[in-house]
Amino acid sequence: MADIKLAFVIQRPPYKSETSTLGFTHAISYQVVEMLLEDGQNVIPTVCLVGEGVLNLIKDQKAMENYGVTSVESHGKNSLLVDLDMLVCKEDMERFGLAEDRLLDAEDMGADKKLQIVPYAEIQKVLEDSNHLLFF
């Protein structure tokens, strides 16, 4: 099998621990994994945001200004920029009263990808289609 699919499920809120940031950075590293693999071997991550994890995506985070650290938002934008599929649970957005326009996008960086707000059932499908699951 040449392609391995991984589901990166980010379920914790931002800035409580570094877990959600590390979820993004680990997913982004798929870009350079070919260095350690044979030709034709691929790792394909999908990032899924569920539960309090959706709170990581609120835009205009001022973490650098206030605490001198890269915001989780930046990591989310970088993930779009490297063409990762990012699925956001619709039910959890509604539960927290978050409209789509409150969430980050990476248009300003020239990213083609956008966040995909989907029912939980589609995230469940990603979990089923993936070879391995990584819950952050």
């Binding site: 809120p13 931002p14 800035y15 409580k16 309090e52 709170l55 609120i58 835009k59 205009d60 985070q61 001022k62 973490a63 200004e65 206030n66 605490y67 915001s71 938002e73 539960r95 927290f96 009263g97 409150r102």
Partner: protein, 98 residues
């Protein structure tokens, strides 16, 4: 007692706070605790906001999470680090971090 409670998390803190009583109780929302001040889960404000009239949220921690004063429930006062120091010394005798 005059008790100032620092609520630093969103989900895990409700139970303990619900139980505490004090003649004067203040809730200071910091870190992910600021989501209590700004989110309406299933359309309802956090139950913690009914607990007392003395509610504060740290502006830097709101901004860090992409939240603004416009998101904050009108009962909650947005404060700075300097305000927090004054609350500690002037308004509350005992402090708790939950």
């Amino acid at each position: 007692m005059k008790l100032g409670v620092f609520v630093n998390d969103y989900k895990s803190t409700v139970e303990t706070v619900e139980r505490l009583t004090a003649e004067k109780l203040g809730l200071i929302f910091i870190q992910n605790g600021v989501f209590h001040a700004a989110l309406k889960e299933n359309g309802k404000p956090s139950p913690l906001l009914d607990k007392t009239g003395n509610l504060y949220a740290l502006s830097e921690d709101l901004a860090t999470r992409g939240l603004t004063a416009a998101d904050v429930d009108s009962r909650v006062k947005v404060v700075t680090y300097s305000d927090v120091v004054d609350l500690i010394f002037n308004d509350y005798e005992k402090l708790a971090w939950l």
